[in-house]
């Protein structure tokens, strides 16, 4: 038993939390935050599983993947925010149009 398993489980928790918020909230900024939390959960699982075996140095391949993942996530966030602002300018709403209001 290694403490990295703890972090892997926390990653699963973060992924689930983010997925819940992604489904439940209609405000697009909240959806963007939720996707980012989901991504962090996935990164946590990847790195934690790479350092699972005690006594050996952690696997560098997941680390490299996660570094590229973090930079891609931030650029995707910027694109999503720009899309949200454009949608807001077009429709006056920051929600997706086909969803019923109420949640």
């Amino acid at each position: 038993m290694n403490s990295s398993l703890l972090y892997a489980l926390a990653g699963v928790g973060l992924f689930t939390l983010g997925l819940y918020a992604l489904i439940v909230h209609t405000h697009l900024l909240r959806k963007i935050l939720a996707i980012n939390v989901m991504g962090s959960g996935v990164f946590l699982v990847l790195v934690a599983l790479g350092g699972r075996i005690p006594g050996t140095p952690p696997d560098p391949v997941p680390h490299a993947m996660v570094i590229t993942g973090i930079v891609v996530a931030v650029s995707a966030t910027a694109l999503a925010l720009a899309l949200m602002l454009r949608l807001r300018a077009e429709t006056g709403q920051e929600r997706l149009p086909e969803e019923p209001s109420g949640y």
């Binding site: 983010g18 939390v37 962090s40 570094i67 973090i70 949640y103």
Partner: protein, 95 residues
């Protein structure tokens, strides 16, 4: 190494709690601030997982870029917003 286990436990619980509060706080600004704090704590988690490269990337992105991006987007949303601030009412309906 009870101390390290305690450290890990507190760190993981803080992460989960921050994410939870960030995703369901009624005020959007609070949500963003909590998300920034979440990024900072994530960097500590990477350090504990012996991934200093990832911690560096997360520190640079989390402290420097994500916060600025989100705050600027929120400011532009608020500039566009009319006086009825419906994101707050939508948040409180969930309670």
């Amino acid at each position: 190494m009870v101390l390290q286990w305690l450290f890990d436990g507190v760190l993981v619980l803080t992460l989960l709690w921050l994410a939870w509060r960030a995703l369901r706080s009624p005020d959007l600004f609070t949500a963003i601030v909590l998300f920034i704090a979440f990024g900072l704590v994530m960097a500590l988690a990477w350090v504990r997982l012996q991934a200093p490269d990832v911690a560096l990337a997360e520190a640079a992105i989390g402290a420097g870029l994500t916060g600025a991006l989100l705050l600027a987007a929120l400011a532009r949303l608020n500039v566009l917003a009319d006086s009825t601030n419906d994101d707050q009412t939508a948040g409180t309906e969930n309670e």
